[in-house]
């Protein structure tokens, strides 16, 4: 059979942002093998993500497919890809400083991150359940290694092992779900599946498959009852890795979940909605209440990520365009906010000591920039104006309210109030004067400062002038 080179070229162009990130990863890996070049690594990866993001936004994306329907190059790829690449860009500005501070001299970190980003881009552009599975695994496998990159540290080891065992366990469920759906319908293409579901042939086998796929997703987004790994992993992993696992993974998983939901259920399905609603309600309650009892800041952020997974799932229940738009807004702001929080914590932490509330005491006075950024991020996580987190929560609650989920919205507002309690404890600790000897601040360095300022500016701008994001999420 002759090869259609024009088609091949078109398809390659459609996935070129992914290929560019993969290429960056390979270049980084080769560079990391020659240790002396390690100062250039963060810049190469930042340039790679920036170029890929620009390329992604230059391609004109109508809702179409490439590679015989394997890749879906629609607005979801554009929106999801841009937020993932934006996050990766500011993360690579910061990572040099944090890796040095943690004593991790492995240049491979950047290559692992680039491969994980390529996996995330494959997830948000998957037009087929096979691509979905490959994307999720391409993201997750580097994640396991990133969590355990501090080889001599037993906490890092433990977090990597827990993440690995639970992550691959979840992958098993996801895969079995895909197999059952394939068994029921005879196809793994999302478009063909939508047609097949609309024809009304979906039986028990299919719904069991959907349940297993949702289980896999709930593991990935750390929703209750599959959340127990998240606090352990975020606490034990080096902060530089946690800042990426907790944010990038969540962005990619939620945009993919929204895309799968959008494709498979153009007509809202009660079963899908009910399963999501249950997980959303439980996550909001358990995440927020358990966070109150924590003392380690990274662990609090871990439970906060469980709670926020609940708020984000709330937007999926309605299975409407407005819901997905609200979700995209929320997940973008949440990702950058959590990144800012982890980044500030990483710059404040003393090597080898856990970041407990006691250890943070008074640091807001000696480290003004980090303290301010952490405060801004925490206020945004509480969902108070004038931060982006407030607009995100407002959009999500509004959508759920219009969908008739009054009970869940009230629960969401109540649990948000509970969450003020634990976020406020961190801010109070930051600005409590202590008798301890004055801490001499270590300057964060230009690139890390830029990352913090960019993240804080993003949180404030999306809060004061949300139209910059809503205009763009309305593509979905």
């Amino acid at each position: 059979m002759p090869v259609d080179y024009t088609l091949l070229l078109q398809d390659t162009l459609a996935v070129s942002p992914v290929l560019l990130v993969l290429l960056t990863g390979i270049v980084l890996m080769v560079m990391a093998a020659q240790k002396h070049q390690s100062a250039a690594l963060p810049w190469v990866s930042a340039a790679g993500y920036l170029a890929s993001g620009v390329l992604l936004n230059c391609l004109s994306f109508t809702d179409s497919t490439a590679f015989s329907g394997m890749v879906a190059t629609g607005p979801y790829f554009l929106t999801g890809g841009t937020m993932i690449l934006g996050l990766s860009f500011i993360h690579s500005l910061l990572s040099g400083r944090l890796l040095e501070k943690d004593g991790i001299y492995f240049g491979e970190f950047y290559a692992l991150q680039a491969f994980a980003v390529a996996g995330m881009l494959m997830m948000v552009s998957s037009g087929n359940l096979i691509m979905l599975f490959i994307g999720i695994e391409t993201m997750s496998i580097p994640f396991y290694a990133m969590a355990g990159i501090k080889r001599k540290d037993i906490r890092s080891n433990e977090s990597a092992m827990k993440y690995f065992l639970i992550g691959s366990f979840a992958a098993g469920f996801l895969l079995y779900g895909i197999a059952l759906i394939y068994g029921a319908s005879g196809t793994t293409s999302l478009n063909d599946l939508a047609v097949w579901i609309a024809s009304g042939q979906a039986g028990t086998l299919f719904w069991v498959g959907i349940g297993l796929i949702l289980t896999g997703f709930f593991f990935k987004v750390s929703a209750v009852p599959f959340h127990f790994w998240a606090p352990d992993v975020y606490q034990g992993a080096p902060t530089v890795s946690a800042a990426f696992l907790a944010t990038g993974g969540k962005m990619a998983s939620f945009i993919t979940l929204a895309f799968v939901s959008f494709r498979l259920f153009p007509v809202p399905s009660d079963k899908w909605g009910l399963a999501v609603a249950l997980a959303a309600g439980l996550s909001m309650i358990i995440g927020n209440v358990t966070a109150l009892a924590q003392n380690n800041v990274k662990r609090i952020l871990g439970y906060s990520s469980v709670a926020h997974a609940g708020y984000m799932l709330l937007a999926v229940i309605s299975q409407s365009a407005e819901g997905y738009q609200a979700l995209a807004f929320y997940v973008f702001v949440y990702g950058i906010t959590t990144f800012a929080a982890f980044a500030a914590v990483g710059l404040l932490e003393k090597n080898g000591e856990p970041v407990t509330l006691e250890n943070l005491k008074g640091l807001g006075f000696s480290h003004r920039l980090e303290g301010t950024v952490l405060t801004i991020a925490l206020i945004s996580l509480m969902g108070l104006p004038p931060m982006g987190g407030f607009i995100g929560k407002y959009l999500v609650f509004l959508n759920a309210w219009q969908d008739g989920q009054a009970g869940l919205v009230i629960l969401g507002v109540l649990t948000s109030m509970v969450s003020v309690g634990y976020y406020l404890r961190i801010i109070l600790a930051l600005y409590t004067r202590t008798d301890a000897t004055e801490v001499i601040p270590v300057p964060a360095g230009g690139a890390a400062t830029a990352a913090l300022v960019l993240a804080a500016a993003f949180i404030l701008i999306t809060g004061i002038y949300p139209a910059v994001l809503t205009g763009w999420t309305s593509l979905l």
Partner: protein, 101 residues
């Protein structure tokens, strides 16, 4: 013909269940890991059976990908278990419990 496929699918479901049971009850990281591999391979079995049922190649294609991904997972997973064993001299997950509230 269909009767045989039902049997294969039932077998794969049983194997998957055994894998899940192994993950939930075993204490050694390597054994848990083997149980996860059992889960993945039971899915492969069902994918091949479904592929035969629908007379369609997609399922077998996915099996190849799953095997490649499982191999990558083994590489990373064993590296993690080895680094834990070097630092702690154990691979028992009940003893690896620094991170808890």
């Amino acid at each position: 013909m269909n009767h045989n496929i039902d049997a294969v699918i039932a077998l794969s479901a049983v194997l998957f269940g055994l894998g899940v049971l192994g993950v939930l009850t075993r204490k050694n990281a390597i054994t848990i890991f083997m149980s996860i591999e059992l889960m993945l391979n039971s899915v492969n079995l069902s994918l091949v059976a479904f592929s035969r049922l629908h007379n369609d190649i997609t399922g077998q294609m996915l099996v190849i990908f799953v095997m490649a991904i499982a191999a990558a997972e083994v590489a990373v997973g064993l590296a993690i278990v080895i680094s834990i064993f070097r630092n702690r001299q154990t691979a028992d997950v009940t003893e690896i419990n620094l991170l808890r509230w």
